[in-house]
Amino acid sequence: MARADPTEPRVGGGEGRAASARTWQTKLRDALPWYLFIAPAVILLAALFAYPLFDTLRLAFYKWGGLGRQEFVGLQNFRRLFADEIFWLALRNSFIFAIVVPFGTVSLGLFLAVAISRRLKGWQVYRIAFFIPVMISGVVVATLWANMYEYNSGLFNTVLRGIGVGGLAQNWLGDRKIALWSIMLVPVWQHMGFPMIVLLAAIEGIPQDLHDAATVDGVSEPQRVWYLILPLIRPVFASITMLQIIGAMKVFDLVLVMTKGGPAFSTEVLGYYVFETAFRSGHFGYGSAIAVVMFVVVFVIAYTYVKCVRIEKIEY
């Protein structure tokens, strides 16, 4: 038995304590290099992620114009928020965005993935064609579409007038009844290739014998997709849907470039409203309160997803 230091008082458990102190020291010595490995990342994340996040939570309870004293106002920012019509519009629009856009990208992506997995003629070409827009900057896409939507000389209205249905020409981004829908079409166009590529990989991960088994006479293609493929790719399907929903909740570039939240706040979304309130109007406390609400909404969606739709492994 290892003897403890003779000066150690011989009371019950003294030896145990010394031993545990030593293992604690060895443990620390073993752990130290690892702490040095993680230090750069942890310091960076603490300074530029954790600190700003908690400071946003704090600022939400203050009134502050950016310079001078920060005045503690308790829940006043949140009371003001709940009475703020523009905030409710922004929240509503963000939700519409987070439902419509992922629905469009994921369902179209699934269709494309199934078609391409069937190796229809020219499948390589479709795969590339649908994926190209995914790679392009959001700002470029937004500017391009804003030009195509332009009322007098944009591509859409030119085509409509050209084929003799000029009456259908719309003020796509200037009419508050359709502006939000015009904007939502853009990410559907841009991003459908992303679920496509991911779901395609999932479908091709299903063993061939399962595909063969399902390819019995009398099973139609839609039935095959619904009863065989979808259940087997459920984890990936859920995961990509989630990514699309969270991405849509955070929309910013499109609104900034195309409408700046207008006309009449009909395209105002949370991400843009935070920016406008804080960096355009200089209400940093109030802007923080909106950011906190946005944070909570996104976090709750993500958390619910992780708890409910756990990404378990599918056993074939």
């Binding site: 690892w34 702490y35 490995f37 750069p40 990342a41 942890v42 960076l44 994340l45 300074a47 530029l48 992620f49 600190y51 700003p52 996040l53 600022l59 950016g66 179209l108 078609a115 069937r118 190796r119 229809l120 020219g122 479709y126 064609a129 649908f130 994926f131 190209i132 790679m135 392009i136 900057s137 959001g138 700002v139 937004a142 500017t143 391009l144 030009n147 166009w189 290739g193 992303f194 590529i197 991911v198 990989a201 063969d212 390819t215 139609s220 293609e221 990936v236 995961s239 969270i246 955070k250 910013f252 570039d253 900034l256 991400g271 935070v274 920016f275 940093f284 950011a291 946005m294 996104v298």
Partner: protein, 292 residues
């Protein structure tokens, strides 16, 4: 053709009208996806009058005039050459910095036994659900206090922080599958932890690290929100910011659209080239990200 190959199945199942409908959808869809990008590139070669009056006509001549004007900024007051360089510096610096920091951290998390390891992993997963807007206001003032506003270094640090959690999580998963025997052998030879990491682990992981670079390159090149907040000096803009803020010095130029399209093409062409060079890796990288 063997029985049971996808081609065989396709001809059997997609019979008749369903088949033609699917083809019609695929072909028209592919055209709708690609045409706007073709339109963008085509308009860099046309005058404003041509762009407006004959939008579908192909350009009648090839010219680099539009590119030259926005690149040098002589007549337009917008220096896209400078913005391109800013973007390039930020992308390269962020990739180097982020990959270094993330690989070190991910390796420690995969191999090390230290208190806080599991908690760190949980925290990183949680950060993925935090929208960047929830950081923006304090970051703006903090970077100001550090003198890192209007600084490419400042923007690089912010992007590194934003991209690190995701990169660490994916790299950690990779290092956990890494064969430990190689490292043990080197440890016995007296190599330090860092030595093992640099001499043994990193060289073998080249492919995986390149994959991480490819996943991240795209969002860094396109990022607008923090560039908009942190870079308000004209000469410090990045490409996405300069395109979003595009406003030519009126009166001095008669062409506006052609220049705007040229500016957009400057941001797009490198991405297209990269896409065609690394198509397979990009698709794989993005898929791996979504599978986690």
């Amino acid at each position: 053709m063997a029985i049971g190959t996808p081609e065989h199945v396709a001809t059997r199942l997609f019979g008749g009208s369903l088949r033609s409908i699917v083809y019609a959808l695929l072909i028209s869809g592919a055209l709708v996806e690609v045409y706007p990008i073709f339109f963008l590139l085509m308009n860099t070669q046309k005058t404003d009058t041509e762009i407006l009056n004959t939008p579908f006509a192909l350009p009648t001549r090839l010219t680099l005039a539009g590119f030259k004007d926005v690149w040098t900024g002589d007549r337009t007051g917008m220096f896209f050459g400078r913005y391109f360089l800013n973007s390039l510096v930020v992308v390269v610096a962020t990739l180097i910095f982020m990959l270094a920091v993330s690989c070190l951290c991910a390796y420690a998390m995969a191999r090390g036994q230290f208190p806080g390891n599991a908690a760190l992993h949980q925290t990183l997963l949680l950060t993925l659900a935090v929208p960047a807007h929830a950081l923006a206001i304090p970051l703006y003032f903090f970077m100001g206090r550090l003198g890192l506003r209007n600084s490419l270094m400042g923007l690089t640090l912010v992007y590194t922080t934003l991209g690190a959690p995701f990169t660490i999580i994916l790299m950690r998963a990779y290092f956990m599958r890494f064969p430990i025997e190689l490292e043990d052998a080197a440890r016995i030879d007296g190599c330090s932890r860092l030595g093992v990491f640099i001499r043994i682990v990193l060289p073998i992981s080249r492919g995986s690290i390149a994959g991480m670079a490819i996943i991240n390159i795209n969002w860094i090149w396109s990022e607008l929100f923090f560039a908009l907040i942190l870079m308000n000096r004209l000469d410090m803009r990045t490409l996405p910011l300069a395109i979003a803020m595009y406003k030519p010095a009126q009166m001095t130029v008669e062409t506006v659209l052609q220049l705007q399209y040229s500016a957009m093409a400057i941001a797009t062409i490198p991405v297209l080239i990269m896409f065609f060079l690394f198509q397979q890796q990009i698709a794989q990288g993005m898929t791996a990200g979504a599978f986690k």
